[in-house]
Symmetry: C2
Subunit: 244 residues, 2 copies
Amino acid sequence: MATAAPSPLTRKLSAFVALSEAELSVLARLHGRRRSFLAGQDMAHQGQSGQAAYILSAGWVCSYKIQPDGTRQIVDFQVPGDFLGLRSVLLRASDHSFEPVMDILAAEVLTSDLLDAFTQTPRLATAILWAASRDEAMVVEHLVGIGRRDAEARMAHFLLELASRLALVGLGSKEGYACPLTQYHLADALGLSAVHVNRVLRQLREAGLVTFRDGQVTIHDYRGLVDLAEFDPAYLDQTGPLLR
Amino acid sequence: MATAAPSPLTRKLSAFVALSEAELSVLARLHGRRRSFLAGQDMAHQGQSGQAAYILSAGWVCSYKIQPDGTRQIVDFQVPGDFLGLRSVLLRASDHSFEPVMDILAAEVLTSDLLDAFTQTPRLATAILWAASRDEAMVVEHLVGIGRRDAEARMAHFLLELASRLALVGLGSKEGYACPLTQYHLADALGLSAVHVNRVLRQLREAGLVTFRDGQVTIHDYRGLVDLAEFDPAYLDQTGPLLR
DNA sequence: CGAAACGTTGAATGGTTTCAACAAGAGTGG
DNA sequence: CCACTCTTGTTGAAACCATTCAACGTTTCG
């Protein structure tokens, strides 16, 4: 049987752990129940307790929280290779919602399948917990950004983080990447108004740093962006395989 | 042997799980290695990989991240009954630092002890994971607050969250609590300047809602504060025992 | 064609920061 | 004991970053 192209999750975990044949096949089996969701239609509502998690294989999702006054704060974006609702499987009801930014493809993972995989292949468990821990570090970094960076640095940092994450699954590079987000998504993620997002993007463009246009992020001056954002990717922990 | 007063952690977990004698004794054994730390002296530095976690039994700690430009963002505070560095034990090196806000008392927990406790008493494991998950929900709520609430609501929300958390371990009530934080701590936690923190506290005081003074938070109008902050404690998940 | 979603820009407003100065208490050493 | 410093709290004025309101352009889609 011909080997299919590795899933984004496989690519991501392989950067952290050198996976054996057996582990790769367990991972492949986790991708069995494929489902698709439409852009803009919520996958899980605030407070709902579902027992399924998903592995995102194509498309982007955002996880967010709506406030009583109607404003929205996007906590994180999920890109291919990311888990969705992993926490609510292992622990308890998630208290935020998921919305596909575009039509997506995901593999449904039942709690039991996941636990089986964990007991069968402890190294795979380690790798998945690494990914979960990395997700959490990204939320913390997000908090730091909103609390202590001005709009320009915040935007620059955000775009750079996405570049790193996408490069890890082969969907972009230091030169740029495809990005389906609207300026409203950016506003809700960065704690800014959509109007100001527009202005900040213009500043970055006119400074010759990045262009965000037509669903494409083009990085003109990587070094300059890193300096502006004071971007230190240590928290992403993607320096190379840690387990052999 | 006379039963000592329950530790704050025991009080907290008991609100979530009705613990058996055996579970209580495992929990008590986890509190064996007592240590103390001095106010202002870092317990773990950014990027350091330590294999020990702590259970805080007295005093407050803050976990924070320093940026290249010297500004600090406090991610969370730990109060008695909270874990410290639990994540870095189970997963990998934490990437933020811990600093006691005052002199503290903590129990050191080795990875092996924790794993033993988990295998011996699965229900205790569930309870501890509940606490970890709750900590994470608090970080998310913190993110939402900084991103989408103005300074007044942010402060009100923060003070209310602390009231709830402290009440759970018997260190306060809806009327108020002892709070060792300086206005600089509040500023670094809420993403504000210390000067503005001072002004906001004055507004809240003059509106007859709360007084923050001399290490004491006094809530004059609980209902009014909740309304101002749009405080919905659902994310704290302390509605009562879930497991019997 | 009309509506809806997204992007763009200007002007006015306002929340927050910065700078500066001062007050009060705690700890220190002469 | 007193001067001294350090930390924390307090307040005013000016400057600034970001929001809000409003208007308009563009594209997509039914």
